[in-house]
């Protein structure tokens, strides 16, 4: 061995995959085993109890429908934006908004949308009383509607930025500009040319992120609790309710439901794959037919612009509404703005807000720093030994994003309980790490691999060893992407709801768990303070990640962002 720590370093990729896959697989086993009566001897009692629940059919239907519809819509909007909008001013504006949108936690987006859509929300206020005649909030289910439309809207708004970012990262490998030029020179419209020439190559690259979106949308808990129907809720939201129930019988029923939920996700993924194959064949046939579809472009461009504007506008307006509620004094229906502004809510909540912010930040820093350290070790090992992760390793990396949280967190909770770690910030930070690590790795691996290898050769020729090259050249030169990856990781940690709730056993309180808990209480002012902080914290992380390298290298033109 050339270095004393070389053997250990070489194991880093394996250790990292273990950190990711271990808890998922162990938790899955721990969740599903009780459902089949393993360890309790109850046989299939748990499933019988589940079958006795009258809401089961509707909950399953909701899970499938909201998940599939929102994924189709989010993917369609993403592809429309990428096919028709590049080169427009709207596209560059959207690109600037992408990271901030991505950093806003799910719960904050959901709370913002809830304020827009609610019977007493901004949309109804804007139309009342002059258009609607309402002097009181109407008795309508515009929020928590039984069909899950509000939930679908929330999921689409949150998943489009994620899919866009993943697609933008994959686009350079598809040779898109030349292919588009070729298609357009052959007389194709933008939409058709893009669908025929770029989409097949691009989709192969973003397949795993799309599966992650589908699995997430089917099983989202906090968004379903805030925006989704209540009687019955989606299957995942119901599982979370049963899990939080102190009665042991409900635990078994929850385990059975979690096993069912896992089956549903697997079935939906299989259905999606089938649809992929059919659509791909149709697309290739249409391409071979020589369809140009130029007439489609104008309408689709308008659709893409309109939908993108609606999504960004709704999220932005919702968050602005939350901010206003947090400083609202008197604000009677149907006034569009409060009559007085006051900091009373902030002052009254200050002690809780400070404590919860500190806990949130501490967990985020611990999980993201650990994830960054593991990622850097993995990538450094890759570089030193000329390794590249295989397809299997990449699939494992996506495991925590594809396996539903409700299907493996309960088992993990039981494991934490067994070793007496439940309810400690350390256990919660470890659980966060499972979800933070994939994002940190995906964020940093691209810039890392694009780093100019001749720098390392030049340094080695000057007598520098591997350690010196890492600490003095590679890491400082990659400071900006490393800090961005750290900020991404912190944003992911800040947004975690179910892991914090279950592993923390209710004793570890963050801005996100508190915001969701308060959302059912109806005090919009206090919800506004929590949601606002929940949104500002990741934004502050990104601001630091951008400012620190710019400041450190302010006199180095060669280090300016490309």
């Amino acid at each position: 061995m050339r270095h004393p720590g070389g053997a250990l370093l070489r194991q880093a990729p394996r250790l990292t995959l273990l950190v990711i896959a271990g808890p998922v697989l162990a938790g899955l086993t721990g969740t599903v085993a009780p459902a089949f009566g393993l360890g309790t001897g109850g046989g299939l009692d748990a499933f019988r109890a589940l079958a006795d629940w009258p809401g089961l059919g509707a909950a399953v239907r909701l899970s499938l429908a909201t998940g599939l519809i929102s994924t189709v819509l989010a993917l369609a909007l993403t592809l429309l934006i990428l096919a028709l909008l590049p080169g427009t001013r709207a596209f560059s504006a959207l690109m600037r908004l992408l990271s901030p949108l991505l950093a806003v936690p799910h719960a904050a987006v959901a709370l913002g949308l809830a304020f827009l859509l609610a019977p007493s929300g901004w949309i109804v206020r804007a139309l009342s009383p002059w258009a609607t005649g309402w002097a009181e909030p109407p008795d309508l289910l515009t929020l928590n509607d039984p069909a899950g439309l509000a939930l679908i809207a929330g999921l689409v708004a949150k998943e489009v930025p994620f899919l866009l970012l993943m697609a933008l990262a994959a686009l350079p490998q598809t040779d898109a500009p030349r292919r588009m030029l070729l298609a357009e020179s052959l007389g194709h419209g933008r939409a058709a040319g893009w669908a025929f020439a770029v989409l097949p190559a691009l989709y192969a690259q973003i397949r795993l992120p799309v599966y992650a979106v589908l699995a997430y949308s089917m099983t989202a808990v906090e968004m379903a609790m805030i925006l989704g129907p209540t009687r019955p809720p989606t299957l995942s939201a119901q599982i979370a309710l049963w899990m939080a129930d102190p009665a042991l019988a409900e635990r078994a029923r929850a385990a059975a439901a979690a096993a069912l939920q896992l089956g549903l996700v697997v079935a939906a993924l299989a259905l999606w794959r089938l649809a992929e194959a059919v659509l791909r064949r149709g697309l290739l046939r249409a391409a071979a037919l020589g369809l140009r579809l130029v007439w489609l472009d104008a309408a689709l461009r308008l659709l893409a612009l309109g939908m993108a504007a609606l999504t960004v506008g709704a999220v932005g307006a919702g968050l602005a509404g939350l901010a206003i509620w947090s400083v609202a004094g008197m604000w009677a229906f149907p006034a569009a703005l409060p009559e007085t502004l006051s900091l009373r809510t902030w002052v009254a909540a200050a002690p809780d807000l400070v404590a919860d912010t500190a806990m949130t930040l501490g967990l985020a820093l611990a999980a993201a720093l650990a994830a960054l350290a593991l990622t850097l070790t993995c990538l450094e090992t890759e570089t030193r030994h000329g390794l590249r992760p295989g397809a299997g390793a990449m699939a494992l990396l996506y495991l925590p994003l594809i396996v539903p949280q409700v299907a493996f967190l309960p088992g993990l909770q039981a494991a934490a309980l067994a070793v007496g770690l439940d309810g400690t910030p350390l256990a919660v930070a470890t659980a966060h790490l499972v979800f933070v690590l994939p994002y940190v790795f995906l964020s940093l691996s691209g810039p890392w691999r694009a780093w100019d290898g001749r720098i390392a050769t030049a340094a080695a020729a000057l007598g520098a060893g591997e350690a010196r090259i890492f600490w003095q050249l590679r890491l400082p030169m990659l400071l900006a992407p490393a800090l961005t990856a750290l900020a991404v990781g912190m944003a992911v940690s800040v947004g975690q709801y179910l892991p914090t709730l279950l592993i923390g056993g209710g004793r570890v309180v963050t801005l996100t768990t508190e915001a969701v808990a308060l959302s059912s209480g109806g005090n919009r002012r206090i919800v506004g303070t929590y949601a606002l902080l929940q949104m500002l914290l990741p934004a502050a992380c990104f601001a630091v990640a951008l400012a620190a390298p710019a400041l450190a290298f302010r006199n180095r033109r060669g280090m300016a962002p490309a």
Binding site: R454, I455, T457, A458
Partner: protein
Amino acid sequence: MRGLWLDGLRVTRDGATVVELNLTVAPGEVVTIMGPSGSGKSTALAAILGTLAPAFRASGRVVLDGRDLTGRPPRARRIGMMFQDDVLFPHLSVAGNLGFGLPFGLRGAARRARIASALAEAGLEGFADRDPATLSGGQRARVALMRTLLAEPAALLLDEPFSRLDAYLRGQIRGFVLDRIRQTGLPAILVTHDAEDARAAGGPVLPPAP
């Protein structure tokens, strides 16, 4: 025995020979390797430097001043390298780049003095705190050479170091580099496809075999 000796150095990839070299370079001598792109020149330099990609296999020996370098990591070979581009570290100042190659033990005023005298030798007095990105192409090339020499190499490899410079600078920088090599008495291998470079170097010229 002083100088650089490539003793049956052969690089293969999947069993096929990429490049084979058998030569000795005396102190102060510059051997030129000519040949079109893709003829394995850069692979040969990587083998001498010890930075071959894992897909390649090397056999034979690289002997420098009597030391067998085979199997040693690049940092322990004491072979300096000049690239097609200057490959200055963009996040360090000019002095930071020069200091990177200096021994760690040299501290304080002595260290600053060495850097200052290197800058003076390159006609770059007062450039210590400059951002390398603000230098001209010729200035950057000179900083790159001084950085290489401050690491006190025992041999030099030059991988088309003048090819990116315009015609006027080319002759000037080439003269500067070759003068330094003769002064320091280092054995050097120059890879180029410019016959003018080979003539100026004055040493033996060979096409790499096969």
